[in-house]
Symmetry: C3
Subunit: 433 residues, 3 copies
Amino acid sequence: MPAYSTNMRLKFPIVALALEIITIILFAVFAVYDDGKTWHSASHCGSELTSLLTSPVFQDVHVMIFIGFGFLMTFLKRYGFSSVGINLLLAAFGLQWGLLMQGIWHMDHGKIKVNIFKIINADFSTATVLISFGAVLGKTSPVQLLIMTILEITIFSINEHLVASILKANDVGASMIIHAYGAYFGLAVARVLYRPGLRNGHENDGSVYHSDMFAMIGTVFLWMFWPSFNSAIADPGYTQLTAVINTYLSLAACVLSAYAISSLVEHKGKLDMVHIQNATLAGGVAVGTCADMNIEPFGAMLIGLLAGVISTLGFKYLTPMLASNLGIQDTCGVHNLHGMPGILGGLAGVVAAAMGKKKNATASMQAAALASSIGFALVGGAITGLIMKLPIWGQPPDQNCFDDSIYWEVPQEEEENEGSLVHADHSKNKAEA
Amino acid sequence: MPAYSTNMRLKFPIVALALEIITIILFAVFAVYDDGKTWHSASHCGSELTSLLTSPVFQDVHVMIFIGFGFLMTFLKRYGFSSVGINLLLAAFGLQWGLLMQGIWHMDHGKIKVNIFKIINADFSTATVLISFGAVLGKTSPVQLLIMTILEITIFSINEHLVASILKANDVGASMIIHAYGAYFGLAVARVLYRPGLRNGHENDGSVYHSDMFAMIGTVFLWMFWPSFNSAIADPGYTQLTAVINTYLSLAACVLSAYAISSLVEHKGKLDMVHIQNATLAGGVAVGTCADMNIEPFGAMLIGLLAGVISTLGFKYLTPMLASNLGIQDTCGVHNLHGMPGILGGLAGVVAAAMGKKKNATASMQAAALASSIGFALVGGAITGLIMKLPIWGQPPDQNCFDDSIYWEVPQEEEENEGSLVHADHSKNKAEA
Amino acid sequence: MPAYSTNMRLKFPIVALALEIITIILFAVFAVYDDGKTWHSASHCGSELTSLLTSPVFQDVHVMIFIGFGFLMTFLKRYGFSSVGINLLLAAFGLQWGLLMQGIWHMDHGKIKVNIFKIINADFSTATVLISFGAVLGKTSPVQLLIMTILEITIFSINEHLVASILKANDVGASMIIHAYGAYFGLAVARVLYRPGLRNGHENDGSVYHSDMFAMIGTVFLWMFWPSFNSAIADPGYTQLTAVINTYLSLAACVLSAYAISSLVEHKGKLDMVHIQNATLAGGVAVGTCADMNIEPFGAMLIGLLAGVISTLGFKYLTPMLASNLGIQDTCGVHNLHGMPGILGGLAGVVAAAMGKKKNATASMQAAALASSIGFALVGGAITGLIMKLPIWGQPPDQNCFDDSIYWEVPQEEEENEGSLVHADHSKNKAEA
């Protein structure tokens, strides 16, 4: 390995503070509170109600972003601080940046009017980054990830504008513009950052009992609040209710198929935590695009059932192949949770539109939206990966991948003996040599 | 022990997929979205608001079912994967089955119209199964538990219909139809599945420090959202507010009495985590039936205070007696958290009805509802237990009870030495011998 | 050490039950359900909506109190049971006591009318105690802490009444009346309870890997729901939305500065979990007083940025100085999370009022409110500390500080060898000697 410096002492504070100060200046110039003159008229009951009504959905999405994604990635045995901590960092910066990037497409007299819907959408934009983070988890520095955040959200907002305003495609639960986009963006970055030294695995690239338990906190919160995610920007009333019900049922069916296939493909019929933590969520991804369409409850359940099967099989068979044959090292298997189910969701939307399940939706525009999302992801991810690959951002050497102690002060473990309190320090030494 | 096969490779996937496919077919035949023609009229503000308004309560109940019940049971040292994972499996299947079973009593032109209230009630129906799961935790296979789920929810929906529509009894927070029913159903199953080999305990039937911490996640989420549980189906407005306040105050009073009694009965006045994790919730159970009645704030607090005392004493003295004298091995002590407090709640409802605290409620119908709930539970549980006892469902041998590694791939622990990475494999070998 | 008895067997149950029974009697005399005659008129849509609308905010605040504060304090390696368990005890008692103490200032025909706003405010009042708990964490007995709860909430309600009704100052997010008050009250108590024996640290006054992960659950839930905290009692509509947006943005900016400064001041640029767990929240505290003012989004972000810097530097440099020079041993560093950011919030309110950012707010009344809050805190905390210092409340000897096993039955650890299952018992012996 080249002797990269992983010391973040100046690089990271300068990058983080500079980005924040630039962002604050942009907010000072462009951002104002929404005075509600536009959105009041949509409500029967006046502004007081509208702003309050939306807030539970906002909080549900917020929980998915910060607890859901953050804890889902804590399954690695020595990477919990980074998983939940860097998730917080990226999402906190990303939501500010997303507010700006999405806002510039909807300016009003040169101003971005901030309201509840805008901050829900800002949270959404960060989800793309957190998905991509899963693909490169354990192999990137905080500075690299902040760079990824800026670029991925900027490109996301272009694709989102194209899909929603130009193509006028439906993607209420964002199977295409968030999940497929985030997954393929991350896989492109992972491909560019390919590490031959990790070809034969890494001792820290795995879970322990308690880290799997922490990850289940993330899984279950994502699973529970996915109906809010898929319905957050749906038209209030019947349409929104449809999105809630479809997502609720798709996820429920997906759990059964994920468990069944996990048992079927594993040693002696045992369940595998990786599948349970991830594939049970594929139903939420896959029903996203047509969540607000009249696909009927059983239609949603079929999508969920299929998503659970595809996702579990992907973890078992496809991820190892991608790593060994294509050089795509996908730490969290985002291809199985977000990539393939996202494409499935996009295709389901094409079929549903062709069957007339949603007024004004056309199959061709749906297909174009899917192609656009994957295209922007692959090209954007590759370019971003090349920038991240510059050897100045403090990326970890192979032997220190998947180890918090390279970027965090890590306490010594209680189970270690007095005489052997050297593990954490030892790994520090490796990193700083 | 007979040489049961605990290999789930074919049994579990076949059962799980078959159940899910049958369920999807039934949904295709019977389930449609509620077009709101009925429930719109109840609202002052139109359909948009009604569907949104209900959703925070739905999400609170959802959190109780999946995080609350799931993590509450993770206190066992080697059974966390099963507790939270099988909880997810049973609830995901149960909510679909519950939607069907509850729906057939309220068909409209031969269709079950799915809406927010129906999915809240579907979540409720799964709570009965999760309570019973606590009684047999660690001693049953996933296939056995899926069978229990079908039967318990089917019988629940009959009793619920009887109590609500025939007897017209009040049970807004479901002390009787969920808590007492779920507890006595589970105890009946546990009695039928009695394992003499566990008479002297089992080394894995206990907690470790971190597993107790995970369980507190479940406890606190249940505790916090119980006001939503008890008010979810109350009439909006004053009645619902009453249910929230009564539950909030009953739970608060219950914490004080549970802590006090725990300290009083334990070695040197120390607090016992089993009591704190469970008995602090008994106030929510016990105030359920009369949560929406005018029992006054201090009445709710008295119920909570008493529930905390009864529940803690039950854990300390009654559970060991039930195990040694009656052959009822109640892993989580559901008799103390749901059984006795559920009966207390039912009796409180009888008294409150007799005192005229709720319009149209009569003491005799309340008493009949309590008797019906316990009767259905005991008979239904006994029959279900006999079916579950058939030696073909992959139940674990005694020595592998309370151990995830019999049904799960369990990672090796970080604290184990390189030379002794045999613990998990060793326990696997025992199970598969 | 004097031979204190730490045996809680009679003291704790008697105190806890006596307090609860007195509280129930007071509720029986004074508390009734709010019949809504007052608050209905405020709503456009009738009572049904109003009571429902408020409940998601109530639940968010509830989560912050019980999960947020509870888990935030679980970072200590051997003090997780106490952190989350005693947090539950104090908050459960505190909310009942707070309902009474706040209610007596707003009686209606001699009755306290309980409604959603009153129970949100009751939750708020407990936050002061939980902040102070952080300052004395690990060094106090449950009985001492119950005494602190009564006195602190009683004094809080006087100061709150003074600030809100006499001074008519603005403090929507309670930077002054909760955060600064709670912090300086706790620091005054900690000063009075100064333990010279802990001058050189304590082996249990630190974290382990998993305890830091549990603490992050608290951090992230506090971080996510802070917009609800700061907007819970804001006027519905535009004002409430402003409070949500300001808090959301202040917290996001605060994350960036807390991470940057943590890296800047730590060994080799590494991040320190103590800073991440705490300083990322300072933006929520500091923006509290002017959350509902027209400070513009960038103004909120500047406040958050500054709070993150001050808080992180406080943890690094000020806390050790306070301990060594002033005898203030602040276990959780509440001075950095609640104290200084609370003062910053109060001062920001003075400036914003002077700039006319809030109708009817005056700089002088804002300044008086800040001074009053700190004054009541310091005097009230000192008196409370003196009462807590009486050697009859079962406080732990120095060597048993920061150790659950003195007040809890603690399970033996899985990683310990069969032959050495003596650790927990050993520490018990120390405590009881």
